[in-house]
């Protein structure tokens, strides 16, 4: 059995391995109840222009009332300049140097721009940010981000909001094997609790999701389902799965088999 260790993000430890988004819920009340049901300790937020200044204040109060650690994102940014500016604005508003770095390279599948992501990550790390880059499941990109000083990487499972699950388990497994000491979080594309379980089974430290819970028929119940799935996946990882075989092997003893004809 492997030894269990807490989820560690830039030196801070957490018992929950389910990071949750705060968007797309049918109501603020359901958002709050879903976050509680998920057992999450980290919630993602963002910044936008708002028509009503009180709307931002009201939302922020709701999040503060949860008492959770806040992870601001740079969702929607398409350039290094945009993410750097938005990250600095987030740091001031949310009083944290954590940043979930999203830098979109293609509008069709919302794929992160790997080249610009490296540049932005370098700038922000040097400015004192603790960068959690949302990236593709490219091993070399992940290695380059690690070399810059990232202590957490967040490769995608599938494009944001698709709910397709882990589209390339081979890539994700390879990243896990090649970066054994890195905190790895599958971010985006999950749709089912089984997807989260699969990520944890393969040794990912956590998952970050939003649409899969907020877009469910009953977000609160789905949040609970994801919580169970993450726990199950982590336990399975610690327990170490049996080796897969190509041929059948009977589980019931064959010694003393009746009606056996030599």
């Amino acid at each position: 059995m492997r030894e269990d260790t807490p989820l560690t993000i830039y030196g801070e430890t957490f018992s929950s391995r389910l990071l949750i988004g705060s968007a797309l819920y049918p109501s603020p009340k359901i958002m709050q109840e879903s976050i509680v049901a998920a057992g999450s300790e980290i919630v993602t937020v963002s910044l936008r222009r708002q028509n009503s200044v009180s709307a931002g204040e009201d939302f922020w109060q709701l999040i503060k009332d949860t008492g959770l650690t806040v992870l601001p994102n740079t969702a929607g940014c398409h350039s290094v300049k945009e993410v750097v500016t938005l990250a600095k604005m987030c740091r001031e508003v949310f009083a944290t140097d954590w940043i979930k770095l999203e830098l979109i390279g293609d509008e069709y599948n919302l794929q992160p721009d790997p080249i610009a992501l490296l540049e932005a990550t370098d700038i922000l790390l040097n400015d004192g940010f603790k960068v959690l880059p949302y990236c593709t499941d490219d091993l070399v990109l992940c290695q380059r981000l690690a070399a810059l000083g990232c202590e957490v990487l967040m490769p995608w499972g599938a494009p944001i909001g698709t709910g397709k699950g882990l589209l390339n388990p081979y890539n994700l497994k390879t990243i896990r094997e090649r970066l054994p000491d890195m905190t790895l979080i599958v971010d985006a594309g999950l749709g089912l609790p089984s997807h989260a379980c699969q990520a944890l089974e393969m040794g990912y430290d956590a998952v970050l999701l939003n649409s899969a819970i907020a877009g469910a028929g009953c977000p609160v119940l789905m949040a609970k389902a994801f919580s169970h799935a993450v726990s199950a996946g982590r336990s399975a990882f610690l327990a170490q799965a049996m080796p897969e075989k190509e041929v059948a092997a009977p589980s019931t003893p064959t010694m003393g088999m009746p009606f056996w004809h030599q």
């Binding site: 993602t44 500016t85 938005l86």
Partner: protein, 64 residues
């Protein structure tokens, strides 16, 4: 003299950034950028605006 505030062209009522955003109803928590560059709140009172400036006033919102 006109500037762009949160994407909309508007009259510049005062050249002082802090006074301008307060006149626009800015209420904590918020952060400001001018022409795509972050302006720390501590520097808003010393920042002057000019015609054509692009001012963004952002507040917390849900995020994934």
């Amino acid at each position: 003299m006109k500037v762009v505030f949160n994407g909309k062209t508007t009259q510049l009522t005062t050249p002082n950034l802090r006074e301008f955003i307060l006149a626009k109803g800015a209420k904590e928590p918020f952060a400001v950028a001018v022409n795509g560059e972050f302006v720390p709140r501590s520097q808003c009172a010393e920042t002057d605006l000019k015609a054509g400036d692009n001012i963004d006033l952002l507040s917390p919102i849900q995020g994934g």
